[in-house]
Amino acid sequence: MLRALRAYPALLRIGFAAVVAYRAELVVWILTASMPLIMLGVFDRVADAGPVAGLDHAGVAGYFVAVLIVRQLASTWLVWELNQQIRTGALSAALLRPLHPLVWHSAETLATVPLRVVVLAPLLLPIWLWRPELQLALDPASLLVFTASVVLAWGVNFAVHTAFASLAFWLGQSMGLFQVWFGVWVLFSGYAIPLGAMPEWAQLFAEWAPFRAIIGIPADVLSGRVTLAHAPQLLAVQALWLCAFAALGGALWRRGVRRYEGQGA
């Protein structure tokens, strides 16, 4: 644990060097997360007939700006990377290192954050110029809650990715399964549709499902739709999902590594 902490700054530096080296490719990957822009266009029109789920034009713009930000900050490519490493046997070399491969992957993911912010800025600026009245909750208390919420969201996402990627130890390839999760996630996380705008049965499902812990909750916090009194409850929901998926992902990983039969294992 201590060793991981001491190595972490170096890992971040290595990860960042890789980001700089492959910047053009990464920028394109980052831009593929354009669905909130499309849905902003759709809901901006819907808001013509009056507020949707309490969101007027400025509210819709604020919500999807928050979604774009959260999506970039709480993002990871772990399931793709691990699937490939497991299938090709590249994981063997990673397992030989004195550091846990997941620590290494987490540093790799975090090292992409600066580039993600740089790519986001030119996307968000035109939206802000277009709807200058859009508001984000940027007072210190809300920002503190948002930071906690987005860190938890990243944690849940990373744990979910670990769990799905670990299935590849048994299946050889778990991308198909992850795509199913992703499809449901798009609909019920608040990523494409603000949860309040959905029919009641869908809202009920979304409330009890883990998806909103990754996008919906931090996005609501950042777009100022969560009162400070309500915030602890939402953070607790995220923390619970984090524990659940960390336990599941950890268990699957440990059992999976034991039966890993890649080249060199």
């Binding site: 354009s34 669905m35 901006d44 819907v46 609909l187 549709i193 705008a197 029919p199």
Partner: protein, 268 residues
């Protein structure tokens, strides 16, 4: 006569590789069936976002939910076609350029563009298009005035036109591989931008149409067939759609020809 002599070999070559693709897919029958069921579910799931967005809304930008589902259905049909016949080929092209194996294609006595574009087929993905037609059928039957034979044939023609534009866009993007080599992720960017074509183009304000400028022709391609089925398509916009398709195909062909000259093969 000379044209016929050039066309027949390529048709025979493509026919042979498509037959082979079908035989491979059907050889694993259980897998094919399971895949088909999952794919149909995925196609059906594309209805959900439309229903959610229309929750509590009578119309959006002049479209009812059923009418908007026509656009979604058209989009799913086109996407299935792209994933079955275009994407596997043009993603493969990027590798062929990188490894120099495009030589084997260029050596053959048929038009390389056609061979490169259509030699691979993933029959499983055609099931997705079938799902799109089911959505189209259900949505059309819920219209106040179900479309007549004339409207249906117009819509099918326009869908074909849309497929041509989709193909031309892909060819344009992939042709850049001759200069930049690694562009496989550009094709993912194209796929994600195309998502805008799920919605009637009227929904987006002019600002957004600029933002999705690449997608605009596509938006038209999914919206015009829907307009035809609703029976409100102006003949002029059908014709302009046709014009756009011709321009796109011509430009992509010109770019392809130029790009091919840039190919530094493995053997020369």
């Amino acid at each position: 006569m000379s044209d016929a002599r050039r066309v027949r070999p390529i048709l025979r070559a493509l026919g042979a590789s498509w037959r082979a693709a079908w035989m491979t897919a059907l050889a694993y029958r259980a897998n094919f069936l399971a895949d088909a069921v999952v794919t149909l579910f995925a196609a059906g799931a594309t209805v959900l976002p439309v229903l959610f967005v229309f929750h509590g809304q009578e119309t959006i930008a002049g479209w009812t939910a059923s009418e908007a589902l026509l656009v979604t259905g058209a989009f799913v049909v086109l996407q299935g076609l792209v994933e079955a016949a275009v994407e596997p080929n043009l993603r493969g092209l990027v590798d062929d350029i990188r490894f120099g194996t495009l030589d084997y294609v260029l050596l053959r006595p048929v038009d390389p563009q056609l061979l490169v574009s259509f030699r691979r087929l993933v029959p499983q993905r055609l099931v997705y298009s079938v799902g799109g037609f089911v959505i189209l059928g259900v949505a059309a039957s819920r219209l106040p005035e179900p479309p007549g034979l004339w409207a249906i044939s117009a819509a099918l023609t326009l869908l074909g036109v849309g497929a041509a534009v989709m193909y031309a866009l892909w060819l344009l993007v992939v042709s850049t591989a001759f200069w930049f080599v690694r562009v496989d992720n550009l094709s993912y960017l194209l796929t994600s931008a195309m998502d805008a074509a799920r919605w009637p183009i009227d929904v987006f304000r002019p600002v957004f149409r600029v933002l999705f400028s690449v997608v605009v022709p596509l938006g038209l391609m999914t919206t015009t067939p829907a307009l035809a089925l609703r029976g409100v398509l102006e003949p002029t916009s059908a014709l302009s759609g046709l014009g756009v398709a011709v321009v796109f195909c011509a430009v992509s062909r010109a770019v392809w020809v130029r790009a091919l000259r840039h190919y530094s093969s493995a053997s020369s």
